[in-house]
Symmetry: C2
Subunit: 299 residues, 2 copies
């Protein structure tokens, strides 16, 4: 254990923050990968969405939300928001040099590269994430020869928040977004499709159903959870009773909710409307959330 | 002319503010009703959506945005946002007692009552507006015997912003929201349906197509424009060359864009991302917006 991490006992919770409820898909994957760990989750619901805001504003928000989690006490920070992951990581690492810290883009890009034998990678995300080209950068650093095509799929966010996760409407919208994207790749489409927004994993089944056969789905929630587990293990910060996730949790698989019994606790924080957070959040967490368990924080 | 309005020359612009781009449907109706008038439009795009925020926060934001418009100079304020209209009007009237001021809910409610011979009124809006029950209150003050049923229709916002205003997907989503709402009313449905969100008028044709025959559509943008014209006329604040809108602009009709030649100017302000404001805003304004014509303001 290094001097930097010696002040971070393994029994502290892991801090997760997002602009709202979408990051709960990351928390769900984290709880499945690390069932013995405790978590703090902060959704900046008063200021969502981050995807339409400037990078400097989002970076500032990320520092404010992280401060809340660090003040309570966390052993690692997970930025479970693609937009914040794309603009805020350098500032967060500089502000908290001793705190292990990851976003969702690097794990997602690494997983995509591992599932792309021909180097053909499609990305769907919010408009902000697509414009910022963070996935392109993270993929090209690993696979400079990769062919990447990304498209915004904003209605998926609303479908997920509405809880409309299957049926004809979802299928038709998925086709409208994905058929033209698939057509950008010759000879059978891309090797994989990155779900570059934390809202999208709840639509994974409907999305997979309209893709050409053989296109792998990359769920950055799942890959981030593995990344976090490996990082904590490497630093000797896993809580007693935690096990590293096995091969069954490999990139691309989207496990159903609640398949692993969890022992750790979660404390929720929202910057506005705890009741709505609890109601909509259940769709993403795959577990019920009691409004009384969500604390309001003012930022 | 009273002492209060004597400091408000008729040649000042009309100030319009909204949480984002949806209020541009109100601006479009205002420009059609009052083609000789100049306008300032401020979209608080950095802090949208208002619909998920607490009333006190939205009321504070409304005061800040109004201050920007008043400092530049306006002769009337139009709050072209349903959420802000439902919580911010008392504070705005108290802060600017000499400034004529209207939201969109009172005009919409008045128009609905005028189109409801049996007093049966359906309302669709954002979740925040529905929870706040502002339309119910404004309708019941006029028609205490009215039967009102309101439902959130959040996906309409995303469809409008995506520019998907017709086709099978829109029709299917409209049916999913509206069929159960219509079934709440016995014997042929309600008398009218209030479009209680500024995003919804761009979907008016698709919405009308799935309603039972005879259900009138109440576009609060159009009714607000008539309300503003009458208020300015009553105060002697109409610009020379402005005419009061005729019967052709009656409540319920949704005129196509650009049917009246406009002479007045519009200055746009956004609190984040002028380029996105211009791009998405065109859907709602029905005219092109040059990014260079949108000024960034920091709130």
């Amino acid at each position: 254990m290094t001097a930097e991490t010696s002040a971070l006992p393994a029994n502290l919770p892991i801090g997760v923050f997002d602009s709202g409820v979408g990051g709960l898909t990351v928390l769900r994957a984290l709880r499945q990968a690390l069932p013995a760990e405790d978590f703090l989750y902060l959704g900046d619901t008063a200021r969502l969405p981050y995807g339409t805001k400037s990078g400097s504003t989002v970076a500032r928000y990320a520092l404010q939300t992280t401060r809340v989690l660090v003040d309570i006490g966390v052993k690692m920070l997970v930025v479970a928001c693609n937009t914040a992951s794309s603009v805020a990581m350098p500032g967060l690492c500089a502000a908290y040099p001793g705190l292990p810290c990851t976003g969702v883009i690097e794990p997602g890009a690494a997983a995509a590269c591992g599932c792309a034998p021909r180097g053909r990678i499609a990305v769907i995300a919010t408009g902000g994430t697509v414009r910022g080209a963070a996935y392109q950068g993270a993929i090209l650093r690993r696979r400079p020869e990769a062919t990447i095509c990304s498209r915004p799929a904003q209605l998926f966010v609303s479908l997920a928040e509405e809880g409309w996760t299957d049926g004809q409407i979802v299928t038709d919208i998925a086709r409208r977004y994905l058929d033209p994207l698939m057509a950008e790749f010759p000879e059978g489409g891309p090797d994989c499709l990155v779900l570059g927004c934390t809202h999208f994993p709840v639509l994974a089944r409907a999305i997979q159903a309209v893709l050409p056969e053989g296109v792998r789905l990359i769920d950055s929630a799942e890959t981030t959870a593995r990344w976090v587990a490996e990082e904590l293990a490497a630093r000797g910060l896993l809580r007693p009773g935690s096990d590293l996730p096995g091969a069954a949790g490999a990139a691309g698989a989207t496990p159903g909710p609640g398949t692993v019994p969890t022992k750790g606790t979660v404390r929720f924080f929202a910057t506005d409307d705890p009741e709505r957070f609890a109601k909509v959040g259940e769709i993403f967490l795959g577990e019920s959330i009691r409004p009384a368990d969500v604390s309001l924080v003012d930022l």
